[in-house]
């Protein structure tokens, strides 16, 4: 916690994008998406529709999921157009750390 001497006058936060310091993995409730690149067609739907920017993209390919920020909403799994097994994205159970 910042003490009052670090408060900038005028309710100003001058560290743009500082929410990256805040992991939002604790929003997940026992499920998380899992990525399998073998059938992925790199349509990037999962990337665009992820509200958390948690789909990792490397060299123009989907590479995985950033679990620090993934909230387990399941949009990526729902929007993935691939029907061929093994599905690029599926929801799996996850042990919740309390």
């Amino acid at each position: 916690m910042k003490d009052r001497h670090e408060i900038i006058p005028g309710v100003v936060s001058n560290e743009p994008g500082s929410s990256l310091k805040n992991s939002t993995s604790n929003y997940r409730r026992g499920q998380k998406p899992e990525f399998n690149g073998s059938t992925c067609i790199n349509c990037f739907f999962c990337w665009v529709f992820c509200p958390e920017n948690a789909i990792i993209v490397e060299h123009e390919k989907v590479a995985g999921i950033n679990y620090d920020y993934c909230k387990g909403c399941g949009i990526c799994v729902n929007e993935c157009p691939v029907k061929r097994e093994p599905l690029p994205l599926i929801m799996v159970d996850e042990r919740v750390e309390i």
Binding site: K2, V11, S13, E15, P16, G17, S18, S19, L20, K21, N22, S23, T24, Y27, R28, N42, C43, F44, F45, W47, V48, F49, C50, P51, E52, N53, A54, V57, E60, N66, D68, Y69, K71, G72, C73, G74, I75, V77, N78, E79
Partner: protein, 314 residues
């Protein structure tokens, strides 16, 4: 038209770590819209889900200049920002080639209700900004109270479905056409599922001088009572049932419909998909469903018959 791969290479101006609900479609809308201009953006945001979720002190998810002041005055705040911008440029205190884009973001509460007069005033004064309405059809941030954007029949905490009342009994305000009636250069309605449409409209809005307005349907899993993974799919269903048509209006009267569903689905498909409408499926509420279908059909016919160009699908 830009590709998603190209979009993925652009800077992320609204970053992870925010506190919007799992499955919220507002960050998706912002992701697409903020990438549609190459120039730095200055944002004025009304109180609502987005503000309280993205600026929890001391962190912020914004990588652009951002100001919040109150629930009903984001547009008025922006009037001041762009007035100083004009003044400083005229005086040479900002370089002549300095280019900034101005974006006002408000939820439906801030746009349709408490901030309505401020939005209207800013539109009438012809100020240069893009107004993005993130419409989740209720005051979602404060726990799901009705707004004038809530559709007929919707159950909200202030228009609940009980033994004598079947949810909201008024049709929603057609804010998009109200904004067009201000005769501003560009008004559009879009949805996150059709990202190409949203991107094109955002780009056009940023490039058009003067006030522009984009109304985006942002399904809210928390308050619409839908699974968190379905919010994008739900926004497509809204277009396929013509409950949320995608169209644009230029200069107050030139209408173009941007999406015509291959098969127009009945509104029951929309109503059945969300718990906030589930009470409408009871036989005693059939009259409401009929009214809703009638209104949707009327508005859809109006758009189709008024459009100047043939429907184009991007």
């Amino acid at each position: 038209m830009v590709t998603l791969k190209e979009l993925a290479t652009k800077d992320n101006l609204f970053v992870s770590g925010h506190h919007l609900c799992p499955g919220c479609s507002i960050p998706v809308t912002l992701k697409i819209l903020l990438r549609s201009t190459q120039f730095p953006v200055v944002v004025s945001n009304a109180t609502g889900c987005l503000h309280t979720g993205s600026t929890v002190y001391p962190h912020t998810s914004w990588r652009v200049n951002y100001m919040h002041s109150s629930s009903s005055n984001a547009s008025a705040g922006m009037s001041g920002i762009q007035a100083t911008y004009k003044a400083l440029k005229k005086q040479g205190r900002l370089p002549v080639d300095n280019r900034l884009k101005f974006l006002v973001v408000g939820g439906d509460g801030a746009t349709y209700d408490s901030g309505f007069s401020a939005v209207s005033g800013a539109m009438e004064r012809g100020e240069d900004f893009v107004y993005l309405c993130c419409d989740n059809q209720m005051y979602a941030g404060s726990g799901g109270q009705r707004s004038s954007a809530s559709p007929m029949g919707a159950a909200t905490t202030t228009t609940p479905a009980g033994s004598v009342l079947p949810g909201k009994l008024q049709f929603r305000k057609d804010i998009t056409r109200i904004m067009a009636a201000h005769k501003i250069p560009y008004v559009a309605q879009s949805s996150p599922w059709f990202w190409q449409d949203l991107y094109r409209k955002s780009e056009k809005a940023f490039e058009t001088p003067g006030p522009t307005f984009i109304n985006v349907l942002n399904p809210c899993p928390g308050e619409w009572k839908i699974p968190t993974g379905k919010s994008i799919e739900m926004s497509k269903l809204a277009a396929d049932t013509c409950v949320w048509p995608l169209y644009e209006i230029e200069n107050g009267n030139k209408i173009t419909v941007n999406y015509k569903p291959k098969e127009k689905l009945p509104v029951t498909a929309w109503l059945e998909s969300q718990d906030r409408f589930i009470h409408l499926l009871k036989s005693e509420n059939k009259w409401i469903v009929e009214k809703i279908q009638e209104e949707v059909d009327k508005d859809w016919e109006f758009l189709l018959s008024s459009q100047v160009e043939k429907t184009r699908i991007n």
